[in-house]
Amino acid sequence: MVNTATTEQRHTVEVNLGPQHPSTHGVLRLLVELDGEIIVSCRPVIGYLHRGLEKMFEKRSYKQTIPFTDRMDYCASLNGNLAICQAIERLGGLQAPERAQYIRVLLCELNRIASHLVFLATYATDIGATTVFLYAFREREKCLDLMECMTGARLTYNYVRPGGIPQDLPDGFENGLNCFLDDLLKALEENDRLLTGNRIFRGRLEGVGVVSPEMAAAYGASGPVARGSGLNYDVRKTAPYEVYDRLEFDVPVYHTGDCMARYLVRIEEMRQSARIIRQCLKDMPAGEIMCKMPKIFKPPIGQAFSRTESPRGELSFYMVSDGTPNPARVHGRTPSFVHLGMLPAMLPGVKIADVIAILGSLDTVLGEVDR
């Protein structure tokens, strides 16, 4: 965008936002060229958290890949579990029992709430409203308590297995869940008054970081980023998996494409998730939670592709089997990776404070970007 002649005239300053910076939410480095407070160009540098997960998958059996997906998107690790398990199920022709599918959906939505609450917390802090951070985490804490009761872990759940789920709902879970959902809806309403309606907050977000629907599509944006730009694209609706086609929920779509739209999509999604969870609790049938699995799982030669709607967007796995107990190739298409790629196009012309607002509104998780 910028040629050397103008940079020399303008005496721009190059600033490294990150890798250690309070607002990059991980180890992301943004090489930003500044003209005063205004961004001239930006180059994201990633890979600081690269652990070679895809390479590690090749050396491990199918079941052993699951705990590693926890480490990708650590805010919503259940979606990673689900995505890779779906790919494995499709490779091996397995089908999870209906009850397991309901529980998977229930937990994924609970996890979506937890993830969006982290977004709300960190985003408010990025904008400067530190108090919302703790209010959101207060609710998330209850959410994590429930997840802990269910899965045994607070962050890295490793709960979905190819062909079902390992454990059924614990006693008292429904009651606790209902309590939490009531609290959550109250807290969201409170948050609307505290943060969403705040004049400064709106002023900081409205009209900032606008992404047009065409740009969103061309850059492969998904999830709240796409839906904030007016793309009605939700994998849960366009390519329903598990039992999403039986559940009733709305996909919030906002057309302004700015940070506020992305924020509002996420807030509304939490309400919809609560709705889905209530339906799941109501509709869940009794029965098996795990289908029959061979002792050593060797799927036939072939390739499988699964996609799920993670809180950040479309999380898909492409998995190739060569008939051995280990996958020949696993590739994860992670939404944060795609969204970070949009930054060089979004940032030029905005102010430093907006960089933080835009980066926060993409809600990237660096564990997922670098894999």
Partner: protein, 161 residues
């Protein structure tokens, strides 16, 4: 969009086409890839306007690229397989059509050493590297890649003593 429409549109540029449960799958050659993509992006019957995914794998004999593209307007998924030889892995870059695929192409270079002709950073391997450090040698997902083992940082007590 299904295999028949694609055969009709692409004609002899297509090696094979079949309908799969979650997508339509076609196979093209590397030479035809750019023209096929341009066509599918602009053709009103396909309208593949959404940048999906690029990945590749090394089978030991050749490298197979896998493209996934979607249409937001029609709501269909298309996957493309392109096979290139291992020692001369060159494909045209499609990041001009879908800028979102820029980073996926960089990742493919990073992991498998595929050269994307027409990519803005193609001649600068340092910029082309994305996840690995700029001075990394070799391409880890190639079957002949030998990892340089620099010691396990989490070794047990047996190794320390």
């Amino acid at each position: 969009m299904n295999a028949e429409i694609l055969t009709e549109i692409l004609g002899d540029r297509l090696i094979s086409a079949e309908d799969q449960p979650f997508s339509t799958h076609i196979v093209v050659t590397a030479d035809n890839l750019l023209s096929v993509c341009t066509e599918l992006h602009s053709n009103p019957r396909t309208q593949l306007d959404y940048a999906g995914d690029i990945t590749a794998r090394d089978t030991g004999k050749e490298i197979i690229l896998w493209y996934r593209l979607e249409s937001m307007t029609i709501g269909t998924t298309l996957t493309i397989n392109v096979t290139v030889p291992r020692d001369e892995a060159v494909v045209p870059s499609v990041q001009a059509i879908w800028p979102g695929l820029n980073w996926f192409e960089r990742e493919c270079y990073d992991m498998l050493g595929i050269r994307f002709e027409g990519h803005p950073d193609v001649d600068n391997p340092e910029l082309m590297r994305i996840l690995l450090p700029e001075d990394w040698e070799g391409f880890p997902f190639r079957k002949d890649y030998v990892p340089v083992f620099s010691g396990n940082p989490l070794h047990g007590p047996q190794e320390t003593n």
